[in-house]
Amino acid sequence: MYPIVLLSFFGIVTLFLGFSKSKNILLPATLLFLIIALAGNFLEWNKGPLLYFYDMLRVDNVTLAFNGIILLSAFMIFAISGGFQDNPDSEPAEYFGLMLFSLVGALMMVGFQHLIMLFIGVEILSVAMYVLTGSNKRNLRSNEAALKYFLMGAFATGFMLFGITLLYGATGSFKLEQIQGFASNMQVGSESYILYAGLLLLLIGMLFKVSAAPFHFWTPDVYEGAPTIFTTFMSTVVKTAGFAALFRLLSGSFTGVYGFWWIVIAAIAVLTLLVGNIGATSQNSFKRMLAYSGISHAGYLLIALTALSKPSQNAIIFYSLAYSLSTICAFGVLMLVSKEKTIGGQPNEYYDAFNGLAKQNPLLAFVLTVSMLSLAGIPLTAGFWGKFFIFTSAAERGIIWITVIAVLMSTVGIYYYFRVIISSYLKEGDLVKIRVAPFYKVILVLATFLTILFGLAPGIFEGLI
């Protein structure tokens, strides 16, 4: 609960800090805010389930773990943004303020215990993201992306809200336990249909946010159009929050009607895996490939939701963490490399930008390689265990066929993830010097280190929860 209050306040403070003459203070200040929020988050560790705001928000260790992942990712993203110093058009105070506000939304989604809280969280998060997507005001792609995101997001929100009202109509409550109580004991009849319809519509709204197929169409365009730093934010923080919310919703309210919804999620998971992985193979732009890779990872996470067995919770948490760390590394390297190599004044985000990276900057090439290996799920990286835990959760429930599809699709993944490794190690490129700020380097190395550490000893993490 503390980080929600703290970050709301800090968001306003950040906006006012923007009025000061020196813009250099912004980055350290926001990083400090995030550290305070992180500390505040773990103050409630092991304090047991706590309820806040008239029982609308629930804080337990699962909430705190998700919060931790979100805040840590945010910290790394803020740090590698470099305070937006290199772009004179940028407005760092507003960017940071909006990101802090959207973090508040994300934390609400993680801890909600009441559907209104979920809705408010989703909206706070999304509205900020619409604006940030279009923050590159003079870039047509960015504007287009923002408008697309907004239109489709509004459309999906409509469904979500409709779903919430139907659920209220069926059960007479917004609270998760009461919905759970109703759903577990209801007779098949007209109410059950209203509840089912409400659940499906709410799920559709949420699945849109985590870019599951067939509601994924916005993702490649928006991820590619948005400035890379906000794409990173979207593909880590937003996705983690979305899955935390889906997990809480399904495990908190609808275990009683598991038989009804699991096949829907399973079908969507398979479709998402197919679309994400196969779509990624035909891309020439690294950034667009990462967008598709984001879709495919949503597919893997959906498998854990489909199973909703005992290991699912840890699987989702571990996978989100592993995925966030690697994604931050991948986008971080992309930002550095594309800035140095431009085509017609625009950053070069194609695969060939990475040609010869191993000679130009071995550290970046290594960081990139580890992150790709982790995304592909190669052993000794965190990503491997993430996938492993997810597959175990499906096996626990006895859904083997979905694991088979997922494993097949992850072999497809190796193809497109390794393309960039091949580019950076085996292809020749111009000897461009790539400058990396020391702090930036620290963050990349830290993320890589954690990826390898969790790859070597996944139990460290598991012991924590």
Binding site: I12, L15, F16, F19
Partner: protein, 124 residues
């Protein structure tokens, strides 16, 4: 009084709904069918008489209008919160008062931000 209604009790409403829709639809179709329709260039002009029109009717309006309009709606809507508070002022007591102060502080800080950003500066 009978408080339970069967779906069939709503039938008159349904009938009226259909009648209303049919009336609107019917009138529109009938007028198109029976009225004479002659088209010419002059008749399709925006102005059939007077001076000839020049340029596009859709001139861009400064974005400031929208900003001010949105800000107006925003603050207007927020102030609505004060009505239920005022009605229940006594019951809510000190707690309600402090909450409202906090709310106003947040609102005012937003207002201050808007002014400092120069949104209300028309000439710039």
């Amino acid at each position: 009084m009978n408080n339970t209604y069967l779906p069939s009790d709503y039938l008159p409403i349904l009938v009226q709904f259909f009648l209303a829709a049919a009336f609107i639809g019917g009138t529109m179709i009938v007028t198109h069918m029976i009225g004479p329709s002659r088209k010419s260039k002059l008749k399709d002009d925006p102005f059939e008489c007077g001076i000839e029109s020049v340029g596009d009717a859709r001139t861009p309006i400064s974005v400031k209008y929208f900003l001010v309009a949105i800000l107006f709606v925003l603050f207007d809507v927020e102030v609505i919160f004060m009505y239920p508070w005022a009605v229940n002022f006594k019951e809510l007591g000190m707690f309600g008062f402090l909450e409202m102060l906090l709310f106003m502080a947040l609102l005012l800080s937003g207002f201050y931000y808007v002014i400092r950003k120069g949104v209300l500066n028309w000439e710039e």
